[in-house]
Amino acid sequence: MKKTIIQGAISILLFFGTWVALTKIDWVTVFKVQKVTDKTEEKLGNLFWEIFQRTEKENKNPFVVNSIDSIVTRICTANKIDREFIKVHILNKDDINAFALPNGHLIVYSGLIINSDNQEELSGVICHEIAHINLNHVMKKLVKEIGLSVLISMTTGNGGSEIVKETAKMLSSSAFDRSLEKEADIKAVDYLIKAKINPEPFADFLFKLSDKENEATKYLTWISTHPDSKERAEYIIEYCKDKKSLYTGVMTTETWDKLKEKLNE
């Protein structure tokens, strides 16, 4: 009996020992898992971005682009995020919306900038989307919604243009899981605080939009795709309550006003 128990224990130990020993090898690098994933992400990002590029009008006004870039650069520098990876595109569209595509493409609609009361509100939304990018939520969502095999077939050109279009639409107009949204909100607040941008207007922005939720809000895409904005505003305020710091604006009030003017033209 005793011998059997000892032999059984040795067998179990042998299995777990083999497993532990094998974990010492970095298999992800050996099998180039990361490289394949990165390549797929890069191709998908370009594929989706091309669709928006074709169907929407990109705002290339240097003043507008530089202003938004200055916000993104400040956030990235303060949080040690690779600035080169985040590719910001401003599209002329009335919808209040911003979203992330694979491979660091960040799309901001002019409607969002125009409807933000101050630059902190806009910075909050940008931080939220950068958090989605950095936490790899975009690829996770894609894999979950449409499956890895379809994604890979898209990159090889076998996906069919309709599927690619539908997926791009899905990325721009549907939310992530509630837990992923919360994770991105909290991360966004961390980014804002590190970049010395006041996070409270971000919560105010959500409060403000939650009031409008009952109205006919066909332009409020960002908020309709991000449910329970009131609840989100509350936990953001709760989270940043004890993290008070000295905040400064990214651009001057004049620049901010001029930016809105340019977009309203």
């Binding site: 497993w19 094998l22 898992v33």
Partner: protein, 145 residues
């Protein structure tokens, strides 16, 4: 790992065939039920139940085949569900996962080879006891019943 031992009595031709089949059963089931680890266990279990009232030699080998499948079930089920969670949830392919799959593969291949070897030997009426499983089987399987 595997010992050839003298059995209590000399098994007859019919017994040797039935005992050998219990191992073959799990081999065939591996091929059929590769994606679902439970299939192997069900196959050997059905064979075990069918031969429950067989002779001691047959019962002994059915039990050994069943026990080995049972432990493989734990290893494979864990790997199976881990794979499912990678495909359908947020879980990513990690070095830990690949290491587990390789470890599971090593154990499965070892078990596969040993099973083939034992199936051949028992067919000739030779009694083969595996490390750990042999002792366990002797504890569970009584000759008197």
């Amino acid at each position: 790992m595997i010992n050839v031992k003298q059995f209590n009595y000399e098994p007859g031709e019919h017994e040797a065939e039935a005992a050998s089949n219990s191992y073959l059963m799990s081999l065939i089931a591996i091929i059929v039920g590769l994606p679902l680890p439970i299939i192997n266990l069900i196959a050997t279990l059905i064979f075990y139940i069918g031969n429950r009232k067989g002779t001691y030699f047959v019962r002994w080998h059915c039990t050994q085949a069943l026990l080995s499948q049972l432990s493989m079930l734990f290893i494979n089920s864990f790997g199976f569900w881990w794979t499912i969670s990678i495909i359908f949830t947020d879980e990513n392919i990690s070095s830990n996962y690949i290491a587990y799959i390789i470890a599971a593969l090593i154990f499965n291949i070892t078990e596969f080879i040993v099973t083939i070897y034992t199936a051949i030997k028992t067919r000739k009426g030779i009694h083969v006891e595996w490390w750990f499983y042999g002792n366990l089987t002797t504890l569970i399987c009584k000759s008197g019943i």
